[in-house]
C-alpha cells in the first residue's frame, strides 16, 4: 500500500516538475509545483498515506446535493478540498497548489469522474466585476489541474461571483472562506 503510493506520488511529482518547466517558458508562473510536491514527499508516512487515498475512497465519500433554483443534482466529496484566494486575486500560492495536487491525485485515480470547478468571491466589490473574477479563479484552477495531467474534457468551470457565500457573515473570516474555488462532481 505505502509502496504503491510512493510510486504514484513519484510519478505525479515528476510529471508536475516536467509540466512546471515546460509551462515556465510560456507563462510567468513561479516554479512552485515541484516544491509543493517535494513538501508532500517529506511528510510523515501516515500523512503520505492519506494523500494517496485509494480510488474507492472518493467514490465512498460522495454525497448527493442540489442547489435551489439550479436544474439537476450533483455529487460532492469532502475529500476534494476548496482552495482559498487572496482579496481580488486569482493566482495560486504554493499551499493552494498542494491542495490542488491532492485533488488531482484523487481524480486521476477515478478517471470516470467529471467535475465542475466553481469560482466564488467575497461580497466586496461589484456584482458584475466579481462574476469576472470568479471566472478567472475557476479558470486558473482548471488550467492547473490540466497541467497536473487531468483531461480537459473531464472539467468544466462556472463563476458564481459573490452569489453563493459559504459564510454569510460580513467579516474577514467569512470573506476568506468565501473567496474560493469549489469542486463538484457532475458524473461519477
Amino acid at each position: 500500500m505505502v509502496k504503491k503510493s510512493y510510486i504514484v506520488i513519484g510519478v505525479i511529482v515528476s510529471l508536475m516538475v516536467m509540466v512546471g518547466c515546460a509551462k515556465k517558458a510560456v507563462k510567468e508562473e513561479p516554479m512552485v509545483t515541484g516544491k509543493a510536491g517535494e513538501k508532500a514527499w517529506e511528510k510523515p508516512a501516515e500523512e503520505r498515506e492519506r494523500a494517496g487515498i485509494d480510488e474507492k475512497s472518493l467514490q465512498a465519500s460522495l454525497e448527493r446535493k442540489k442547489y435551489p433554483g439550479i436544474e439537476g443534482e450533483f455529487l460532492e466529496s469532502s475529500l476534494l478540498k476548496d482552495i482559498n484566494f487572496g482579496f481580488d486575486r486569482y493566482d495560486l500560492t504554493p499551499k493552494m497548489r498542494e491542495i490542488l495536487s491532492q485533488n488531482a491525485d484523487l481524480l486521476l485515480k477515478n478517471p470516470g469522474v467529471k467535475i465542475q470547478i466553481e469560482g466564488h468571491c467575497d461580497e466586496r466589490g461589484t456584482i458584475e466585476y466579481n462574476l469576472a473574477l470568479g471566472e478567472r479563479r475557476a479558470n486558473r484552477t482548471e488550467e492547473y489541474l490540466i497541467s497536473l495531467g487531468l483531461s480537459g474534457n473531464r472539467i468544466s468551470s462556472i463563476s458564481y461571483g459573490e452569489e453563493m457565500p459559504l459564510d454569510p457573515r460580513h467579516n474577514e473570516g467569512a470573506w476568506t472562506k468565501n473567496r474560493r474555488a469549489h469542486f463538484i462532481i457532475l458524473s461519477r
Binding site: 435551489p68 433554483g69 439550479i70 436544474e71 439537476g72 481580488d88 465542475q116 466589490g125 461589484t126 456584482i127 458584475e128 466585476y129 462574476l131 469576472a132 473574477l133 471566472e135 478567472r136 479558470n139 486558473r140 482548471e142 488550467e143 468544466s156 468551470s157 462556472i158 463563476s159 458564481y160 461571483g161 452569489e163 453563493m164
Partner: protein, 433 residues
Amino acid sequence: MYPRVIFILICLLFTFIRPDVSLARVYIDIESPELQPLPIAVAQFKDIGESRPNVARTIMDVLTNDLTISGFFEIIPRSEFPQEINALADPPDYSSWLRSRAEVLVMGGYSSKGDRLAIEFRLFDLVEKAFLVGKRYEGSTKSLRSMIHRVANEITYQITGGKGVFDTKIAFVSTISGNKEIYVIDFDGHNLREITKNGSINLSPAWSPDGRLVAFTSYIKRNPDLYLFDLTRSVQIRLSTKPGLNAAAAWSPDGSRMALMMRREGNAEIFIINRDGTHPRRLTKSWSSEASPTWSPNGRKIAFVSDRAGSPQIYTMDVNGRNVKRLTFLGSYNASPSWSPKGNKIAYCGRSNGRFHIFTINPDGTGIRRLTENSGNNEGPTWSPDGRFIAFSSTRGGRSQIYVMNANGANQRRLTSTRGKESSPTWSPRMDR
C-alpha cells in the same frame, strides 16, 4: 398591463390656447446647481361625475408626491390659499393670489362611469396671470396612478421644458423571496411586483429601449445564461447560452444589439450579440477581466470595466473595439459605469475610504464629482431617461435598498422598503410616448 397599452389619451383641449407670454418665461433652470424649486399650489380636484371622494385624495397624494420628489417644485399648503377653488371652468382670482407665495396653480376635476375614469387639469401662471395648459386623460380606474403621473409629466414639461419621468419604472434584483429575483417598481415607489419567479439566481436586469423587454442573467441551467423577460406577454426567453458568462447585458440605444460579458480564453471579455442572441462578436482582447459594458447614447462608444492595469478601472472604446482609453485614475476600484442619456456624463461606483460611492465623470475623464456622502455602500447607478435622476442601491439604512437622487446628488430618497436586499437597478425608458 402597461399604461401605454391600457389607456387612451384623449387630451388636448383645444378650447384653451397657450398665450405667448408663457413661452418667454423661464420658471426654473434645471441645469443650475442651485436649483430654486418653483412654489406651486395644487387645488383639490373636483368630482364632476359619480361621487368617488377617494379619487380626489389619491390624485392629491400622487400629484403632490411626484412634484415634490422631482425637486423642481415646492408645494404650497392649502392653508395658504387665498381663495377656495370651486368651479373648474373659472380662471383663478389672480389679484387675490398675488398675496400668496405660489407662482403657479394647478386645478382639475375627474369623473367616473363604471370602471372608466377621466381626469382633467389646468395650469395657471399666477404671476403672469396666464393660462398655461389644460389636458384631459381617460382610462380604466386601475390606471388612475398612471394618469396622475402623466398630469405631473405635463406640468413638469410646461415648467422645465422637458417632460417628467413620473410614469417610468425601475427594475432591480431583490431577495424578498429568499433568492435573487427581478422586480419592478414605479418611479414613486409604488406598485412593486415580481417579474421573474424561477427560484434561481437572477442578475443584472437591463431594460430594452422600447420598454417591452428586460434582459437578465440566470443560473437556471447551471450556467450564467442570458434571458429576456417579455413584459407584455409575461414570458421568459433563453437567449444566449455560451459556456461561461453571458452576463451584464446592455442594450444598444437602437435596441438592435446588446453588449455583454462572455468567456474567452478563461477570462471575461466584452462581446456584442444581436438582439436575438446570435452572432457574438468579440470587442476586447486581453489577459485581464472585462465587465459591465454601457453604451453612449449615440451608439458609437462603449464604456466598460477592466483590470488590465492591476485594479478595476473604467475605460471607453469605439463600438468596434478600437481606440481604448482609460477614463478613471483616481482610486483603486472603479466599476459599474452608466452613460447618461445626454451623453455628457458617466456615472459609476468607486471605492473611497473603504466605502463605495456614486460618482460622475465627463467622458473625457475630467470633472469627477462624488454624489453620495459618508453613508453605507452605494452601487450600481442607472440614469432616468431624461438624465435628471440617478437610481442606485445603498446600505445606508442597513439592508441594501434602492435609492433615487437628482443627477447632481441632491434630494436623495429611498425608493424601496422591503425585507429583501436590493441591487442592480435599471431605469425603464419613458412609457408615455
